[in-house]
Amino acid sequence: MLHEKLYDYLLHLGDNSMILGQRLGELCGHGPELETDIALTNISLDLFGQVRNYFQAAAQIKGGDATEDSVAMLRYEHEYKNTYLVEQPNEDFAHVIVRQFFFDVYHQLILNELMNSKNETLVAIAKKSIKEVDYHVDFSSTWVKRLGDGTEESHEKAQTAVSTLWRYSMELFKATETESWAAESRVGPDLDQLKSVYLERVSSILKEATLSLPEETVFQYGAKTGRHSENMGYILAEFQYMQRAYPNMKW
Protein backbone atom coordinates (compact mmCIF):
# COMPACT_ATOMS: atom_id res chain seq x y z
CA MET A 1 0.00 0.00 0.00
CA LEU A 2 2.71 2.39 1.02
CA HIS A 3 4.63 1.41 -2.05
CA GLU A 4 1.70 2.06 -4.28
CA LYS A 5 1.39 5.59 -2.92
CA LEU A 6 5.06 6.25 -3.37
CA TYR A 7 4.83 4.95 -6.93
CA ASP A 8 2.00 7.38 -7.64
CA TYR A 9 3.91 10.21 -6.04
CA LEU A 10 6.94 9.54 -8.23
CA LEU A 11 4.65 9.78 -11.25
CA HIS A 12 3.34 13.12 -10.02
CA LEU A 13 6.86 14.45 -9.83
CA GLY A 14 8.11 12.85 -13.03
CA ASP A 15 5.16 13.51 -15.34
CA ASN A 16 5.29 17.30 -15.02
CA SER A 17 8.95 17.38 -15.98
CA MET A 18 8.48 14.81 -18.71
CA ILE A 19 5.61 16.51 -20.52
CA LEU A 20 7.27 19.92 -20.24
CA GLY A 21 10.49 18.35 -21.51
CA GLN A 22 8.57 16.93 -24.46
CA ARG A 23 7.03 20.32 -25.22
CA LEU A 24 10.46 21.96 -25.16
CA GLY A 25 11.82 19.15 -27.30
CA GLU A 26 9.34 20.10 -30.00
CA LEU A 27 11.30 23.34 -30.34
CA CYS A 28 14.51 21.56 -31.27
CA GLY A 29 15.60 23.15 -34.53
CA HIS A 30 12.77 25.69 -34.33
CA GLY A 31 13.99 28.08 -31.62
CA PRO A 32 13.85 31.76 -32.48
CA GLU A 33 17.65 32.03 -32.38
CA LEU A 34 20.29 29.34 -32.56
CA GLU A 35 21.44 30.12 -29.02
CA THR A 36 17.92 30.10 -27.58
CA ASP A 37 17.20 26.87 -29.40
CA ILE A 38 20.16 25.24 -27.67
CA ALA A 39 19.20 26.74 -24.31
CA LEU A 40 15.65 25.39 -24.44
CA THR A 41 16.69 21.92 -25.55
CA ASN A 42 19.33 21.89 -22.79
CA ILE A 43 16.53 22.55 -20.32
CA SER A 44 14.48 19.80 -21.91
CA LEU A 45 17.36 17.37 -21.47
CA ASP A 46 17.84 18.45 -17.84
CA LEU A 47 14.18 17.63 -17.23
CA PHE A 48 14.35 14.25 -18.95
CA GLY A 49 17.44 13.40 -16.92
CA GLN A 50 15.48 14.06 -13.73
CA VAL A 51 12.53 12.06 -15.03
CA ARG A 52 14.79 9.05 -15.61
CA ASN A 53 15.75 9.14 -11.93
CA TYR A 54 12.13 9.28 -10.78
CA PHE A 55 11.02 6.51 -13.11
CA GLN A 56 13.93 4.22 -12.37
CA ALA A 57 12.79 4.40 -8.76
CA ALA A 58 9.17 3.89 -9.83
CA ALA A 59 10.05 0.86 -11.97
CA GLN A 60 11.86 -0.67 -9.02
CA ILE A 61 8.76 -0.31 -6.88
CA LYS A 62 6.55 -1.76 -9.56
CA GLY A 63 8.84 -4.73 -10.08
CA GLY A 64 8.27 -7.41 -12.73
CA ASP A 65 9.07 -6.30 -16.25
CA ALA A 66 8.72 -2.61 -15.44
CA THR A 67 11.51 -0.33 -16.64
CA GLU A 68 11.91 3.44 -16.68
CA ASP A 69 10.80 3.32 -20.32
CA SER A 70 7.65 1.34 -19.71
CA VAL A 71 6.69 3.68 -16.87
CA ALA A 72 7.27 6.67 -19.15
CA MET A 73 5.79 5.36 -22.40
CA LEU A 74 3.21 2.68 -21.77
CA ARG A 75 0.46 4.36 -19.83
CA TYR A 76 -2.92 5.56 -21.04
CA GLU A 77 -3.71 9.24 -21.10
CA HIS A 78 -5.73 9.28 -17.87
CA GLU A 79 -2.86 7.62 -16.02
CA TYR A 80 -0.53 10.59 -16.53
CA LYS A 81 -0.45 12.95 -13.57
CA ASN A 82 1.02 16.12 -15.03
CA THR A 83 -0.73 19.48 -14.72
CA TYR A 84 -2.53 21.47 -17.40
CA LEU A 85 0.23 24.06 -17.39
CA VAL A 86 2.94 21.84 -18.86
CA GLU A 87 0.74 20.44 -21.62
CA GLN A 88 -0.06 23.89 -23.03
CA PRO A 89 1.17 24.31 -26.61
CA ASN A 90 4.25 26.33 -27.53
CA GLU A 91 2.13 28.95 -29.35
CA ASP A 92 4.86 31.63 -29.50
CA PHE A 93 8.12 32.38 -27.71
CA ALA A 94 6.36 34.42 -25.02
CA HIS A 95 4.15 31.42 -24.17
CA VAL A 96 7.18 29.15 -24.03
CA ILE A 97 8.98 31.48 -21.64
CA VAL A 98 6.01 32.30 -19.38
CA ARG A 99 4.97 28.63 -19.12
CA GLN A 100 8.56 27.81 -18.22
CA PHE A 101 8.70 30.60 -15.67
CA PHE A 102 5.45 29.59 -13.95
CA PHE A 103 6.70 26.02 -13.73
CA ASP A 104 10.32 26.77 -12.77
CA VAL A 105 9.38 28.81 -9.71
CA TYR A 106 7.15 25.95 -8.53
CA HIS A 107 9.76 23.34 -9.41
CA GLN A 108 12.44 25.12 -7.41
CA LEU A 109 10.18 25.33 -4.35
CA ILE A 110 9.32 21.64 -4.57
CA LEU A 111 12.91 20.47 -4.94
CA ASN A 112 14.03 22.61 -2.02
CA GLU A 113 11.44 20.84 0.10
CA LEU A 114 12.25 17.39 -1.26
CA MET A 115 15.81 17.80 -0.05
CA ASN A 116 14.33 17.29 3.42
CA SER A 117 12.12 14.38 2.43
CA LYS A 118 11.91 11.24 4.53
CA ASN A 119 12.56 9.25 1.40
CA GLU A 120 16.28 8.99 0.64
CA THR A 121 15.86 8.48 -3.08
CA LEU A 122 13.90 11.70 -3.35
CA VAL A 123 16.51 13.55 -1.32
CA ALA A 124 19.23 12.35 -3.67
CA ILE A 125 17.29 13.26 -6.81
CA ALA A 126 16.40 16.68 -5.42
CA LYS A 127 19.99 17.46 -4.48
CA LYS A 128 21.15 16.54 -7.94
CA SER A 129 18.40 18.45 -9.73
CA ILE A 130 18.27 21.67 -7.76
CA LYS A 131 21.29 23.26 -9.43
CA GLU A 132 19.80 22.64 -12.84
CA VAL A 133 16.49 24.10 -11.79
CA ASP A 134 18.09 27.14 -10.13
CA TYR A 135 19.50 27.89 -13.55
CA HIS A 136 16.14 27.32 -15.24
CA VAL A 137 14.59 29.89 -12.90
CA ASP A 138 17.36 32.32 -13.73
CA PHE A 139 16.94 31.75 -17.43
CA SER A 140 13.18 32.07 -17.57
CA SER A 141 12.94 35.05 -15.20
CA THR A 142 15.52 37.11 -17.09
CA TRP A 143 13.61 36.35 -20.27
CA VAL A 144 10.29 37.31 -18.68
CA LYS A 145 11.83 40.65 -17.71
CA ARG A 146 13.39 41.11 -21.12
CA LEU A 147 10.13 40.45 -22.96
CA GLY A 148 7.86 42.30 -20.55
CA ASP A 149 10.07 45.33 -20.24
CA GLY A 150 11.21 45.20 -23.86
CA THR A 151 9.49 46.57 -26.93
CA GLU A 152 5.80 47.32 -27.19
CA GLU A 153 5.27 44.16 -29.19
CA SER A 154 7.19 41.88 -26.85
CA HIS A 155 5.36 43.37 -23.86
CA GLU A 156 2.01 42.73 -25.46
CA LYS A 157 2.87 39.13 -26.33
CA ALA A 158 4.28 38.45 -22.87
CA GLN A 159 1.18 39.94 -21.22
CA THR A 160 -1.08 37.78 -23.41
CA ALA A 161 0.89 34.71 -22.39
CA VAL A 162 0.67 35.63 -18.69
CA SER A 163 -3.07 36.24 -18.94
CA THR A 164 -3.62 32.97 -20.81
CA LEU A 165 -1.44 30.70 -18.73
CA TRP A 166 -2.06 32.00 -15.23
CA ARG A 167 -5.33 30.04 -14.97
CA TYR A 168 -3.32 26.81 -14.99
CA SER A 169 -0.92 27.85 -12.23
CA MET A 170 -2.90 27.05 -9.12
CA GLU A 171 -3.41 23.43 -10.07
CA LEU A 172 0.25 22.97 -9.19
CA PHE A 173 -0.66 23.67 -5.57
CA LYS A 174 -3.92 21.77 -5.29
CA ALA A 175 -2.96 18.53 -3.61
CA THR A 176 -4.33 15.27 -4.93
CA GLU A 177 -4.93 12.36 -2.61
CA THR A 178 -1.42 11.12 -3.32
CA GLU A 179 0.17 14.49 -2.67
CA SER A 180 -1.72 14.85 0.60
CA TRP A 181 -0.45 11.42 1.61
CA ALA A 182 3.10 12.54 0.74
CA ALA A 183 2.75 15.67 2.86
CA GLU A 184 1.31 13.76 5.82
CA SER A 185 4.03 11.16 5.76
CA ARG A 186 6.70 13.83 5.19
CA VAL A 187 7.76 12.32 1.91
CA GLY A 188 6.84 15.47 0.03
CA PRO A 189 5.95 19.09 0.81
CA ASP A 190 2.65 20.51 1.93
CA LEU A 191 1.70 22.26 -1.30
CA ASP A 192 -0.73 24.64 0.33
CA GLN A 193 2.05 26.14 2.42
CA LEU A 194 4.19 26.86 -0.62
CA LYS A 195 1.51 28.85 -2.38
CA SER A 196 2.17 32.20 -0.73
CA VAL A 197 5.92 32.10 -1.44
CA TYR A 198 5.11 31.17 -5.02
CA LEU A 199 2.75 34.09 -5.46
CA GLU A 200 5.30 36.42 -3.92
CA ARG A 201 8.13 35.31 -6.20
CA VAL A 202 6.07 35.30 -9.36
CA SER A 203 4.57 38.73 -8.64
CA SER A 204 7.90 40.33 -7.88
CA ILE A 205 9.47 39.19 -11.17
CA LEU A 206 6.35 40.16 -13.11
CA LYS A 207 6.44 43.58 -11.50
CA GLU A 208 10.00 44.09 -12.66
CA ALA A 209 8.87 42.95 -16.08
CA THR A 210 6.03 45.53 -16.02
CA LEU A 211 3.57 42.67 -16.47
CA SER A 212 0.53 41.98 -14.35
CA LEU A 213 -1.50 38.96 -13.34
CA PRO A 214 -5.09 38.94 -14.57
CA GLU A 215 -7.47 40.25 -11.93
CA GLU A 216 -10.20 37.69 -11.99
CA THR A 217 -9.14 34.21 -12.85
CA VAL A 218 -11.15 31.04 -13.02
CA PHE A 219 -8.47 28.50 -12.24
CA GLN A 220 -8.47 25.18 -14.04
CA TYR A 221 -8.05 21.94 -12.14
CA GLY A 222 -8.18 18.30 -13.13
CA ALA A 223 -5.22 17.23 -15.24
CA LYS A 224 -3.38 15.87 -12.20
CA THR A 225 -6.18 13.40 -11.61
CA GLY A 226 -6.22 12.30 -15.23
CA ARG A 227 -8.73 14.67 -16.81
CA HIS A 228 -6.36 16.11 -19.39
CA SER A 229 -6.95 18.77 -22.01
CA GLU A 230 -7.21 17.96 -25.69
CA ASN A 231 -3.51 18.77 -26.04
CA MET A 232 -2.48 15.69 -24.14
CA GLY A 233 -3.63 13.22 -26.80
CA TYR A 234 -1.47 14.90 -29.42
CA ILE A 235 1.53 14.99 -27.12
CA LEU A 236 1.22 11.29 -26.30
CA ALA A 237 0.61 10.32 -29.92
CA GLU A 238 4.01 11.71 -30.78
CA PHE A 239 5.68 10.72 -27.54
CA GLN A 240 4.56 7.09 -27.53
CA TYR A 241 4.59 6.47 -31.25
CA MET A 242 7.77 4.41 -31.42
CA GLN A 243 6.95 2.21 -28.45
CA ARG A 244 3.41 1.61 -29.64
CA ALA A 245 4.38 0.92 -33.25
CA TYR A 246 7.40 -1.24 -32.40
CA PRO A 247 6.78 -2.71 -28.94
CA ASN A 248 9.89 -3.25 -26.84
CA MET A 249 12.13 -1.50 -29.33
CA LYS A 250 15.39 -0.17 -27.93
CA TRP A 251 17.98 2.28 -29.21
Binding site: E33, E35, I38, A39, N42, Y135, R146, G150
Partner: protein
Amino acid sequence: MQLQLMPRNRQKKEQRKQHKSNNMNKEWPIWEIFIRSKNGLEHRHCGSLHAADEDMAIQNARDVYTRRQEGVSIWVVESKHITASNPEKNGEMFEPAADKVYRHPTFYELPDEIKHM
Protein backbone atom coordinates in the same frame (compact mmCIF):
# COMPACT_ATOMS: atom_id res chain seq x y z
CA MET B 1 28.79 57.87 -19.44
CA GLN B 2 25.39 58.83 -18.16
CA LEU B 3 24.35 55.29 -19.01
CA GLN B 4 26.32 53.94 -16.06
CA LEU B 5 24.41 55.99 -13.51
CA MET B 6 21.14 54.29 -14.33
CA PRO B 7 19.84 51.23 -12.48
CA ARG B 8 20.94 48.05 -14.20
CA ASN B 9 17.57 47.17 -15.68
CA ARG B 10 17.08 50.60 -17.18
CA GLN B 11 20.63 50.57 -18.41
CA LYS B 12 20.10 47.34 -20.28
CA LYS B 13 16.83 48.51 -21.69
CA GLU B 14 18.61 51.60 -23.07
CA GLN B 15 21.31 49.37 -24.42
CA ARG B 16 18.80 47.29 -26.35
CA LYS B 17 16.89 50.33 -27.53
CA GLN B 18 20.03 52.00 -28.75
CA HIS B 19 21.04 48.88 -30.54
CA LYS B 20 17.67 48.63 -32.18
CA SER B 21 17.68 52.21 -33.39
CA ASN B 22 21.07 52.02 -35.04
CA ASN B 23 20.64 48.54 -36.38
CA MET B 24 17.73 48.28 -38.74
CA ASN B 25 18.15 44.62 -39.64
CA LYS B 26 17.13 43.67 -36.07
CA GLU B 27 19.92 41.12 -35.64
CA TRP B 28 21.27 40.87 -32.13
CA PRO B 29 24.86 42.09 -31.78
CA ILE B 30 27.74 39.63 -31.77
CA TRP B 31 29.66 38.85 -28.60
CA GLU B 32 33.08 37.23 -28.25
CA ILE B 33 33.21 34.48 -25.65
CA PHE B 34 36.15 33.58 -23.44
CA ILE B 35 36.12 30.46 -21.30
CA ARG B 36 38.43 29.47 -18.46
CA SER B 37 38.60 25.70 -18.55
CA LYS B 38 39.82 25.36 -14.97
CA ASN B 39 41.00 27.54 -12.13
CA GLY B 40 44.56 28.73 -12.61
CA LEU B 41 44.38 28.71 -16.38
CA GLU B 42 43.69 31.78 -18.48
CA HIS B 43 40.42 32.59 -20.22
CA ARG B 44 40.63 31.54 -23.84
CA HIS B 45 38.66 32.77 -26.78
CA CYS B 46 36.38 29.97 -27.90
CA GLY B 47 33.95 31.57 -30.32
CA SER B 48 31.22 34.12 -30.73
CA LEU B 49 27.44 34.29 -30.54
CA HIS B 50 24.43 36.58 -30.79
CA ALA B 51 22.78 38.18 -27.74
CA ALA B 52 20.75 41.29 -27.00
CA ASP B 53 22.55 42.23 -23.77
CA GLU B 54 25.37 41.06 -21.53
CA ASP B 55 23.22 38.83 -19.31
CA MET B 56 21.86 37.03 -22.31
CA ALA B 57 25.39 36.74 -23.69
CA ILE B 58 26.53 34.99 -20.50
CA GLN B 59 23.51 32.65 -20.49
CA ASN B 60 23.91 31.84 -24.17
CA ALA B 61 27.62 31.23 -23.70
CA ARG B 62 26.87 28.91 -20.82
CA ASP B 63 24.40 26.94 -22.93
CA VAL B 64 26.41 26.88 -26.13
CA TYR B 65 30.00 26.55 -24.94
CA THR B 66 29.99 24.91 -21.50
CA ARG B 67 27.37 22.20 -21.83
CA ARG B 68 30.06 19.52 -21.86
CA GLN B 69 31.90 20.77 -18.79
CA GLU B 70 34.28 22.95 -20.76
CA GLY B 71 34.50 25.76 -18.26
CA VAL B 72 34.44 27.24 -14.78
CA SER B 73 34.28 30.91 -15.76
CA ILE B 74 32.98 32.94 -18.68
CA TRP B 75 33.88 36.36 -20.02
CA VAL B 76 31.86 38.05 -22.71
CA VAL B 77 32.68 41.19 -24.63
CA GLU B 78 30.72 42.74 -27.43
CA SER B 79 32.69 42.26 -30.63
CA LYS B 80 32.55 45.92 -31.55
CA HIS B 81 34.74 46.72 -28.55
CA ILE B 82 37.60 44.68 -29.91
CA THR B 83 40.15 46.46 -32.05
CA ALA B 84 41.84 44.14 -34.50
CA SER B 85 45.00 44.50 -36.54
CA ASN B 86 44.51 45.09 -40.23
CA PRO B 87 45.15 41.91 -42.26
CA GLU B 88 46.29 44.04 -45.20
CA LYS B 89 49.16 45.23 -43.08
CA ASN B 90 50.29 41.75 -42.12
CA GLY B 91 53.48 42.21 -44.11
CA GLU B 92 54.82 45.09 -42.13
CA MET B 93 53.28 43.90 -38.88
CA PHE B 94 54.55 40.36 -38.67
CA GLU B 95 57.04 39.44 -41.35
CA PRO B 96 59.98 41.46 -40.01
CA ALA B 97 60.07 39.08 -37.03
CA ALA B 98 60.70 36.11 -39.28
CA ASP B 99 64.48 36.40 -39.62
CA LYS B 100 65.26 37.39 -36.04
CA VAL B 101 65.97 34.02 -34.50
CA TYR B 102 68.10 35.68 -31.84
CA ARG B 103 64.91 36.80 -30.17
CA HIS B 104 64.17 33.22 -29.19
CA PRO B 105 65.82 32.28 -25.94
CA THR B 106 67.37 29.17 -27.51
CA PHE B 107 71.00 30.21 -27.16
CA TYR B 108 71.21 29.57 -23.43
CA GLU B 109 72.30 26.34 -21.89
CA LEU B 110 69.72 25.25 -19.35
CA PRO B 111 70.74 23.22 -16.32
CA ASP B 112 69.14 19.75 -16.37
CA GLU B 113 67.39 20.41 -13.05
CA ILE B 114 65.13 22.99 -14.61
CA LYS B 115 62.01 21.42 -15.93
CA HIS B 116 59.15 22.75 -18.03
CA MET B 117 61.10 25.31 -20.03
